[in-house]
Amino acid sequence: MVLVVLILAAIAAVAYYFYGSKLLPGSSKSSTSSATAKATPTPTPAASNNLDSSLQSLDTSLGDLGTNLTDVDSVLNDKEGSLSE
């Protein structure tokens, strides 16, 4: 009798362990619905962010271009070099 009770208790403990750690299928409805909610995109802000990041990338390239043109002018106006030629 005691042995049967112990076996049942062990089965219950194992079942609780797997259920509690969400290893059994369908063990946590709330977590599944939460994951679904996270996967759902929010279209408007994402699209806006893409455009903003594209503009930011463009501005970075324009800044790089401006720096390079400044270098061009400094080389074109290199007095030491020009005077020697």
Binding site: A47, S48, N50, L51, D52, S54, L55, S57, L58, D59, S61, L62, D64, L65, G66, N68, L69, D71, V72, D73, V75, L76, D78, E80, G81, S82, S84, E85
Partner: protein, 242 residues
């Protein structure tokens, strides 16, 4: 009588004073021309030319090697442009090094003088080659900007079309978008052939026209105004879509 003696004395003194003037002219007329310099003077002049010439070559080779290092490290130049520029700079370094060896071995003044002059006229390191490298690098950067503008224009056109389908008045947005496209095309038309023209430039082109590079710099200035205007158009469309 005394007056006559005094007058003769003064005339004699004047004639005597005139002698050194003609003597100076005679000395000037007999100054040897450079070709008839003494051997010692020629050797000194040759040595000075060789010293100055090698210093000028070393300075140029050093600057060209710095440019080569920058070219090697550059990640923004197109592969073909990087390769063409590297080859041109390496050729100048090799030719200048050969010229230096020749100059050091020169034994007569006229040849050394010609070699020293060619350091400038045959290479044009400071007024052509080094600026040319920078101008090609800038032109390649224009390509990057123009590509980004074209891609952004396509994306924005899709968004504006969607907004129009949803019933939004997109008249102003479409106008900005059209201007953005036109300005990008203007910039592309100003820069698309520059690299080929720049790479083809030779020292003889600079010798014939000292302002040859300014034409290209002016084109880049105009193209910069175009891409900046296109960028501002894009910003206004993005703001209008929010």
């Amino acid at each position: 009588m005394k007056r006559r003696i005094l007058a003769r004395t003064m005339l004699a003194a004047l004639l005597f004073a005139a002698i050194p003037i003609s003597a100076v002219d005679g000395v000037a007329a007999t100054t040897p021309a450079p070709s008839s310099l003494s051997a010692q003077a020629q050797t000194t002049r040759l040595h000075n030319l060789q010293t100055r010439g090698t210093a000028e070559i070393d300075r140029r080779v050093s600057n060209l090697n710095s440019a080569l290092a920058k070219l090697g490290a550059s990640t923004k130049l197109k592969t073909a442009d990087k390769s063409a520029l590297t080859q041109q700079v390496q050729t100048e370094v090799a030719s200048l090094t050969a010229l230096e060896n020749k100059l050091v071995a020169d034994t007569d003044l006229a040849t050394a003088r010609t070699d020293v002059q060619s350091i400038v006229t045959d290479y044009r390191v400071y007024v052509l080659m080094l600026p040319k490298v920078r101008l090609v690098a800038s032109t390649d950067r224009f390509d990057v900007v123009e590509d980004k503008l074209a891609t952004l224009n396509d994306t924005l056109q899709t968004k504006v079309n969607a907004a129009k389908s949803a019933g939004k008045d997109v008249t102003a947005l479409q106008s900005s978008l059209d201007d953005m496209k036109a300005k990008t095309a203007d910039a592309t038309s100003k820069t698309s052939t520059l690299v080929a023209q720049l790479l083809a430039l030779q020292p003889t082109d600079y010798n014939a026209n000292h302002a040859v590079l300014l034409t290209y710099r002016t084109s880049l200035t105009a193209a910069l105004a175009d891409v900046k205007a296109a960028r501002d158009d894009a910003k206004s469309v993005i703001d209008g879509l929010k």
